[in-house]
Amino acid sequence: MSARRVAGGSAIDRSREIAFTFDRRPFRGYAGDTLASALLAQDELLIARSFKLHRPRGVFGAGYDDAVMVDRLAPRPAANQLATVTAIEDGAAYRSVSTFPDASRDLGALAQFFAPLLPAGFYYKTFMRPNWRLFEPFVRAAAGLGSVPQEAWRPVCESRFGDCELLIAGAGPAGLAAALTAAQAGAETILVDDGDEPGGRLSIDCADATGWVNGLSQAFTSLPNLKILRRSTVWALHEHNLLAVLERAPRDGAGLDFRNWKIRARQVLVATGAHERGLLFADNDRPGIMLASAARSHLMRHGVLCGERILVCTNNDSAYGAAVTLAAAGADVAIVDTRSAPAQSCLDAAKDSGVDVLPGSRIVAARGRRRVSGADIMLADGRSRRIACDLIAVSGGWNPAYHLASQSRRATSVWNDEISSFVARCETDAPLRVAGAAAGVFAASDCAADGAEAARSALLALGRTVDPAPPPELADAFVAQSVAPSWPQPGKVRGKTFVDLSGDVTTADLALALREGYDSIELVKRYTTAGMGVDQGKTGNVNVIGVVAAMAGKSVDAVGVTTFRPPYAPVEFGAIAGQRRGARLYPWRHTPLTRWHLANGAVMYEAGLRWQRPGYYSKPGENWEAAAQREARAVREAVGVYDGAPLGKLLIKGPDAAALLDLVYVGDFGKLRPGRGKYGVMMSDDGLVLDDGVTFRLNDREWLLHASTGAADRVYAHLEQVLQIHRPHWRVSVIPVTSQWANVAICGPRAREALACLDPDFDISRDALPFMGMAEGRLGDIPVRVFRVSWTGEASFELNTPARHAEELWRRVMTAGAPFGIAPVGSEANHILRVEAGYISIGHEVDGTADVYDLGLGAIVSRNKTDFIGKRAMEIRRRTDPVRPELVGFLPDDPQRKIPEGAPIVPIGGTDQEGFVSACVASVALGRVVALGLLRDGRARRGQTVHAHVRGETIALRVVDPVFHDADRQRVKS
């Protein structure tokens, strides 16, 4: 035994034992233990395999500075849980990530023998031939990514909004003093901390601060303007101080796993502390090598002494505190200090605790494979010495955790020689500040003073004048000042020296990246993946930058830092989503007829913009194709009815309405008589089609514009922009009325007969209500507006009625149409009918590259207007490149061969695509497959044969006119 449970442990409750399994073996721990501390307490050091090389790994940190992930099999199965923050639970089962059969005996460790084949960027190189896809499954399975369980846990999550004057991230000494300052001043304050109890590292590093922390906690309970979020992490700081905060297991939410807050703070104080970083030496990743701060944390919080013979290796003062604490708990401790003359206070403290110090010496290599057995030390006089030990506690200095300030993009990273790390310099007018260890101030009482002063300054910016809370009187502690970093030059060394444990990145990988020309730190990061693992470089990044600087012969400042990005700590996707899943994220739009459709066998489709519309009405024994054919045939031969309610409707009113329509449409609208409609095509000013549809002039001053279902919002936005930006003086308003009106569309050769049975109080004869005409009146007692348009290639009557009458009107239509064989029609049949008729559809033929001539609609372009939106750009384009893609019809040589929509048309033997199939249906009118598409110079090529290519197959198509039914439109106009 080396690591063991000893007395103490502020976080654990020894009266509550907890049993769990790890890699199928039983373990015990106490309530309050993390998985990492419980395993350490039972001397289980090797608990993970590294990401790439499957090297043995153990616990390195004590929180979000660690990278050991496990899969939790039960309860609540979930992948990739961080061992140092996962609280153990009774009966839980955990498993190491990507190991076989387990972490201890992992066969994947064979990867280490292939390490020369797996340098940085290996997937760009080693597995290129014959094809990366061949290797990808194996590489992915081997990589330390965990596996999502079959029955994955779905955490119960909610979202909440908040706002405050000052948000303080972190409740260490700086955050606590700031919170007291702000709350006593009456400011609405939120204090966010990831611990169960406030204090940060005070409970670990400063035993004499307990009274101060307890006193503050007591004082806070009487301050109603201070809200404290425990077990919560500010994981992102977005623009304008929008903070994302993840609250774990909120006490006020029974059964709630996560609550994700979005908090808007007028001022933010980043008091998030600092992370200790490691040292660089050969095999510095072995189980039993740990940050000195982590060894101290596991001891003070969980009562776990991680070794009996502990070698503390440091280049700064802070590790002396850890060494003294570990020695006091009963370990045999020695210190290897790279500095030849450590401060006398350090040496005295060590001596008092019986700790030997080797000044001017440094660790060269760790001994032991599956766990540390000793260390090779280079002494001050140049001699080597091997020291036996079972724990190497390392301290390479501390990195201020100013991630949130950096995420704001309003702070720059500046190198600080005193602490040998980067600190943030915030813009003077930025609404955020950094204080305490996050700002490079390490002594606890200094942190408190700094935090209180930062709060005072933030409140002053909000117009509140306050005095900063006085800092507590605390004994001097050992902090990471006067750091002597040493970053090795590349050279022949035994073993591997890791700079990033979670990404398995070594100094050799950094050297390779530089050798291959990736000289910017951002490129080094992406090529080697250093800093891209689960800990996001919290402990490793500064070492990466230091090594790159040493290798490139630059200063650390000149190399600079990579960008910090959210999330600061891992966040469950489910927590971000909260309750917003499916239709709660993006609700469906239903017409007033949905209930009828569903009761009558409709299979619903999305018709665009989340509108639900019947795709087809299924009858027993029918598949979708048979149903669509039956419905389409009813329209061609008798009468059908479809729900046209989702069709976009915009009411345009005002004296300048006609001028607006003339500006946005390619055709002439101004002279249209009231009661008449006209088909129009709208383009954007880049000369490409935006939408098409029929607009009716209801009376002198009012027009009703119909837009495609899926384009209705776009058209509305377009009209608003034209009016507000380009023609602000025009007197015209655009009112979306899509949902106000239901639309019951009767179509087919017997549609007029069916309509006559509905008791119209207006004349529906061909002369009184011709194609593109309209009528207003009643069908029995139901008010309607009837529009004569057609999207089917048959005579159609679109019955518009206020939404509340829709279902009654529809029922009456079904009854009246029954003698004629009326069928309700879904969008599959609509698609067949419109393709046969050669009508274009937004999103099929209109793909954002076609103009009005390309679509064969040149006849509707005004000859009179000098300008309309899109005219100029279209003319320039047609003049400079007259050979255009044009709408044509296609008939496959094999009349039953359907072609997937979107299939490219490429000449045989050629490589350049010359068109595509935009729509393809089994025509009921022709009894064969017909298609539409766009083809380069297509109209001139009618009669020729072209070829569509579908998954290696070549399909011959004859180019024809794009109208397969009622070419002279006599049926439509009947």
Binding site: H240, L242, D429, A717, Q721, I725, H726, A873
Partner: protein, 86 residues
Amino acid sequence: MLLIPCPDCGVRPENEFQCLGEAVTSRPEPATLDDAQWAGYIHERANRRGQHVERWWHFACCGMIFALSRDTLTHAVSANAQDAWR
């Protein structure tokens, strides 16, 4: 998510708005420009680093389209760009 000051409604969160991009001048008379100038009006945008005058549409609320000046580095916004684009 930005906070956008709507001249009608006051400061509101960005998801009530749609950004319409850089506030170029109002649509010129086509006849007054040659082909290259017209292409410039349609396609060329300054994409500035720093102060950037852009249009926002308060579609989910009052429906007003207005211009504001936003610093693309700091996101600092000021609503006093009303006259810059009409």
